[in-house]
Symmetry: C2
Subunit: 149 residues, 2 copies
DNA sequence: CTACTTTAGACAGAGCAACTGACTAGTGTC
DNA sequence: GACACTAGTCAGTTGCTCTGTCTAAAGTAG
């Protein structure tokens, strides 16, 4: 399996996906090691989108690009495991705000540390300037590529 | 939902995932429009990894980071839909090579065109130099982040 | 060349994650 | 007050992925 083409061998999609997957795996492993092993990647992708003041189910679904039903299913599981809680939305009696609960809050520093460790490794490999450019470029890309925003 | 922090609001994982997802969606839509609407994202992720001379199931599974069983299941479906075919591996009677079949080959230019269109949009938004840097940086990142390689 | 170990892949069974469609209840508008 | 819209749930289905088990071929050691 020798490389015939230098950079173009992999399309951009794969090039974006590979480090994403690597990062996710690392964060997952770190959380599992810290005792947070009772949730799944799908649940984590929803959890990540919860804002500091709580977020409605419908908003979570839009942000994660899944249906309300799926989001509800995943939040049910997160709630059952103690990572999140549902509180009434004072501004709308139909809605409820999904908030990070005590157990969920415990995951945040662990996840952040794992991300920081991976980013540090990447910065070592790439150089700190290309690493900063990568982040900045991806942030700009989000402006046009994020259907939610 | 105002931005409080300029770039750091989203972690790198999300920043990688958002454009990946956007690109995948666009390619999917283009393929569906061209009549290739009878396959799923999971199948496409396996299909993408098939090399020009065919690839063994076990290799596909490793590359896509799924189990052999899952890869076999997805290849079954791709084979049934006419996108790939299985041929004996001349070097190992146990193994078979998964190859792109006629119908599968038809998807390649359509997918490539969709990717090129998205990349052109992104280059317009980012500037062509940052776009080239993005590709180069991601390629270098693959060197350490791709567990398969 | 025979016995053991490893590898390629298939089969069976189960759980999770996503979807569509139909529904209830609260909100907003005319 | 009637009607349209929105937040979320319930029911049912499909698809993806896993673990565990199995067969057959290949490689290795005696």
């Amino acid at each position: 399996m020798t490389e015939q083409v230098p950079n173009e061998q992999f399309n951009l999609g794969l090039l974006l996906f590979i480090p994403y997957r690597a990062l996710e795996d690392r964060v997952f492993a770190a959380l599992a090691k810290a005792g947070y092993d009772d949730f799944t990647p799908a649940q984590a992708r929803v959890f990540q989108r919860i804002g500091p003041d709580g977020t409605r189910l419908t908003e979570l679904a839009q942000a994660a690009q899944i249906t309300k039903q799926t989001a509800g299913f995943l939040v049910d599981q997160l709630e059952h495991a103690g990572y999140v809680e549902r509180t009434p939305d004072p501004t709308d009696a139909r809605a409820r705000l999904v908030r990070v609960a005590t157990r969920g809050a415990g995951t945040v520093p662990v996840g952040a540390a794992a991300i920081a460790a991976v980013e540090a490794e990447w910065a070592t490999h790439l150089g700190s300037k290309p690493m900063a450019q990568l982040r900045q470029t991806l942030s700009r890309l989000r402006e046009i590529a994020d259907p939610y925003r």
